[in-house]
Amino acid sequence: MRYLKSILVVAVLAIASAFTTNIEDSYKIGDTVEDFKLKNIDDKMVSLSDYPEAKGFIIVFTCNMCPYSVANEDRIIALDKKYKGSGYPVIAINPNDPKAMPGDGFAEMKVRAKEKGFTFPYLLDEGQKVYPKFGASRTPHVYIVSKPEMKLEYIGAIDNSSRNPNKVTEKYVENAVDALLAGKKPTKTETRAIGCSIKTL
């Protein structure tokens, strides 16, 4: 009987944890990232498997309304321009629920992407299902994935001065991608920066 009870307790705990989206359950450095399929601002669906030529991806959770995201838009465009050709394109994902943040709706995403001339897909995380898997907590929040194993190589900030591009002394994402392109591991794999909390209801 005691044995049965303990099995029951374990089962209940397992079920409970299966239904909570916990930061502890999200991807860690070295983990394999699952593909996703999300709607792009051109109304087409985009998956990582749509990029057979890519060597990896610079996945950026960002949005329209967060001033820290806006302050980093030019840097995100520059990353795509610099690394798309060598095999690391930027894939931007807006994790915010437009019901919680009206300015981050799909129509507004289209407008912002056009205004800024985004050179990369800008995807809507409909139903907010993808960002919790990555454990993204803020915008902007960057994840670098390498192929062919779809391995998570880097989590964090674009550089060490999110508020002022003129004071940047260390470019974390560029350093990480340069290392990967040279067949090495990034020296810094996790960094932090101030950002906006992800808005959900």
């Binding site: 929040h141 900030a157 002022n164 940047v168 932090r192 920066a193 101030i194 906006c196 909390s197």
Partner: protein, 154 residues
């Protein structure tokens, strides 16, 4: 000529003209005082909607708990270039009574971890501490939940 201001319940508020800017090393002593007081340190910005929403809760704590040795400090992470145009007018408009300081330090990766190992950098965030206890919250507060946390320090 606007002397008849019946709406203002916070008549003691004095308009400010400056906000002091700190590097992390300059701010650090404010985050580890052991003087018998309990400090509620809120990290926020004028552009952060959930931060602005929860500010009245912090203002109320300052008012309701000032006799109990609780001090509230609002650490703004506004863009330094927006201090004069946005932060100072915001403080004056909202008549914020709590002390407001600006944290302007580029080395975010260092000081975010130093402030708390669990902080990802998202705003709002709140540190509550005294000489005996310390807790960090990367979340939004309502007055009741904030008061409950503050009371656990007293």
């Amino acid at each position: 000529m606007f002397s008849c201001n019946k709406e203002s319940s916070k008549s003691e508020f004095k308009e400010i003209t400056t906000v002091k800017s700190y590097t992390y090393n300059e701010l650090k002593p404010m985050l580890e005082r052991a003087d018998g007081k309990t400090y509620v340190i809120n990290f926020w910005a004028t552009w952060c909607a959930p931060c602005v929403k929860e500010l009245p809760a912090f203002e109320k704590i300052k008012e309701e708990y000032k006799e109990k040795n609780v001090e509230v400090i609002l650490v703004s992470l506004d863009f330094p270039k927006h201090v004069d145009k946005r932060l100072i007018p915001f403080i004056n408009k909202k008549k914020l009574q709590s002390k407001v300081v600006l944290l302007d330090d580029v080395n975010e990766d260092f000081w975010i971890k130093a402030i708390d190992s669990t902080w990802s950098g998202a705003l709002p965030a709140t540190l509550i501490y005294n000489s005996k206890k310390r807790a960090f919250f990367e979340k939004n507060f309502e007055y009741e939940t904030l008061e409950k946390e503050v009371q656990s320090f007293l």
